[in-house]
Subunit: 173 residues, 6 copies
Amino acid sequence: MMELEGKKVLTIIEDDFEDSELIYPHYRMQEAGADALIAGPVADKVYTGKNGVPVKSDAAFHEVEIKEFDAILVPGGWAPDKLRRYDAVLEMVKFMMNEQRVVGQICHAGWVLVSADVLNERTVTSTPGIKHDMINAGATWVDEPVTTDGNLISSRRPPDLPAYGRALVEAIR
Amino acid sequence: MMELEGKKVLTIIEDDFEDSELIYPHYRMQEAGADALIAGPVADKVYTGKNGVPVKSDAAFHEVEIKEFDAILVPGGWAPDKLRRYDAVLEMVKFMMNEQRVVGQICHAGWVLVSADVLNERTVTSTPGIKHDMINAGATWVDEPVTTDGNLISSRRPPDLPAYGRALVEAIR
Amino acid sequence: MMELEGKKVLTIIEDDFEDSELIYPHYRMQEAGADALIAGPVADKVYTGKNGVPVKSDAAFHEVEIKEFDAILVPGGWAPDKLRRYDAVLEMVKFMMNEQRVVGQICHAGWVLVSADVLNERTVTSTPGIKHDMINAGATWVDEPVTTDGNLISSRRPPDLPAYGRALVEAIR
Amino acid sequence: MMELEGKKVLTIIEDDFEDSELIYPHYRMQEAGADALIAGPVADKVYTGKNGVPVKSDAAFHEVEIKEFDAILVPGGWAPDKLRRYDAVLEMVKFMMNEQRVVGQICHAGWVLVSADVLNERTVTSTPGIKHDMINAGATWVDEPVTTDGNLISSRRPPDLPAYGRALVEAIR
Amino acid sequence: MMELEGKKVLTIIEDDFEDSELIYPHYRMQEAGADALIAGPVADKVYTGKNGVPVKSDAAFHEVEIKEFDAILVPGGWAPDKLRRYDAVLEMVKFMMNEQRVVGQICHAGWVLVSADVLNERTVTSTPGIKHDMINAGATWVDEPVTTDGNLISSRRPPDLPAYGRALVEAIR
Amino acid sequence: MMELEGKKVLTIIEDDFEDSELIYPHYRMQEAGADALIAGPVADKVYTGKNGVPVKSDAAFHEVEIKEFDAILVPGGWAPDKLRRYDAVLEMVKFMMNEQRVVGQICHAGWVLVSADVLNERTVTSTPGIKHDMINAGATWVDEPVTTDGNLISSRRPPDLPAYGRALVEAIR
């Protein structure tokens, strides 16, 4: 049996996501056997990454039954600046944090967690660019390829994707 | 005599600045008679706005004698995510804030002030997207076209540029 | 009271306008208190500048009551090559010239005035590229940042925008 | 023997040429046996068409011995707005017109002939956009796919290229 | 009378065609007097070349009465990778080859003939990149600007277009 | 111990690779513990994917000691059309096939194996677009997400990446 068989993982999307930070974890979850879904503001719409990769959403935020998911993944790039403005996104992230289910974030994804107000007294990493925003939100910031603080998995940037993928599989199974 | 004759104004630049948020205030300062300079990581280099407008830097950050300036302007777009990572930028902003000289910021520019740690107990506006980052940095956030809190002038987005220009001229003269 | 309060200013738009030559004067009019409107071939449509800046039209040419306006502004770039082909544009420009109301033109905008046949015995400047077209249309051509010949204000290129803005405010008020 | 064997034809180039208006006549001259050369401001430099086609120059304007050529071809697009600013270009066009050698122009190419001041009392066609510039330069303007007035061959736009090619071969041989 | 008067020539199109390899032969056929039509998957749709040139289709594949045509032309670029997947395209190419009517192919166009299975014991040229695909399909491959093997005319790349145009006119008339 | 610890995997690169088909397998190999290297025509050069993702090469083809590698991966997109023209690439692929070491190919990557002449009597899958090229090269073609024929692993397109990643890890360990 595959490591994540029977698990459901949600990736959230908006335009200008960092291409590989969305693609790699999403396919990796599928490779491990998970049922992986992509949700955006609108269903069945093609969103375009910061570098130009097109990715279609499977569902709209409001259609997602977040209770059914074992993990939520937030990509980096400029998408988090957009994602943090949706109440539906903030509520899904809060729910997953409250329920201690896996929340994965990489690069600039931390902005979404700042707006969801779930970083107080948590240990995280991120692109150094948003370090102060995360510290101001109550987090302890470390400079590591990947950091696991209970259900919260965070990573810095594309070259850390192998470590991030490993940590996600480990945390979700 | 023109309103800002004898005044010196510095605009800081990096790639992906919001085009009109850099262009409008910069030319407006010149129209009012100020000596307006653009400084970036490298001198005499063309930086490209988020929409594609090319703008050349006059000087490098390290060449700027910040003491000689009456105001510093920070554009929005994705440039602030880059600008906040330069110590030279943070020191210039801190100096201007400490000296109570005019600091102008618009849209996402607030990230630079967050990293310079100068927003505690100040009143500001910005794109709603970074509202939480500014509040977490100690600021009171208001949703207005332009807000003047002593030497600190802030604005929200391109359609607010007329109000922002007026407030800048008023504050600097 | 602001300098241009109660004044109405029309900017005309088509794709490939020189981005800053449209943005700066338009916002500048608003800063001075004018009611500034943008009209294009179609209303509420986003036109894209030569460098990529998107600007939405407020009205269609045929909806404009030109009699109500105190000034008309023509941007540069490649838009004038398109604008000069609309009878509605040529008629608005002729009306404003006949009525001695302010007509502002910058860079390649002069092509529109050539086609409106209103440059005979007028003094103008422009990008040097279209100098011969303006002279052949009967104008005296000068190489200056901004030239004011009665109601006709002309300018050369983006770095002249501060002088152009000043001359426009002066002429319209 | 091919129709244009022994003939030399010069095409002049700058960025933003209308792609097919440069490519088609240039290759057509070669197909007919002519020795066809492309000259730009700089030799061996790739210039990019308005739509994106890259074309490399064979020689710089100042290296061209215009006396050796039987014809000169000016492409359309925005390149003519640039080409008309080079004295070397204007002199080559004047020389060819004075010598009654073939001059081919299409679409916006007429601007170059306006600046070379060679259109007085000549019959031409062009894109309707620059019709007034050509009439003001002394020309009689007709709306036809191709017009041959002695050594001067003019055409309107890409769909007229077949007629233009035929007229050029006819005139040069 | 023009060389190809009364002849009908079909060019097939898909996105990412090599711009000049489609434009030149198509206009050349018209210059020689042929009735030249462009067919794509959909009628009256703008397809965009690899470099960016837009070309509109006149008809859809399924609307073409291939029996009425004297020649079919296949452009290069990445379009052949798409064109070879349409049964309607393969059938048109087979019909023309069986009927010994002219088939023109340039650069990567050979992939379409490979999939139509019509290259056995034929002599062809192409971009060297697909040389092995053509040899494996049964062809003898030569490295020449243009090769004429009965009704089958093939060419290598854009600089060979003059030779290709000449060979096509010769073969079709 | 990780599954691929001690293994060395080479990915070959050229411009216009299918972005996710290069990124996913490369990072996946690293996640499993392999030492993964990217080689292109030139070392330390940024190559750009078909959609725009930039990836830097670690080494040049001629610097690679292919004997040291346990697997070679060929991405899809238009890169294979370029990669198949390098003798160094064809020799590396032949060596790996002769030594029965793992060769991974996806989408259009098969063209490289066609030119290396290593598909005779092998079973493969690929994008349907190049099916005939592979069959003509002697292969049996199947339409499956991933096909493993001894040391040769092939896959069809991006949505098959999870299955491809799993098959690669399985084959290399």
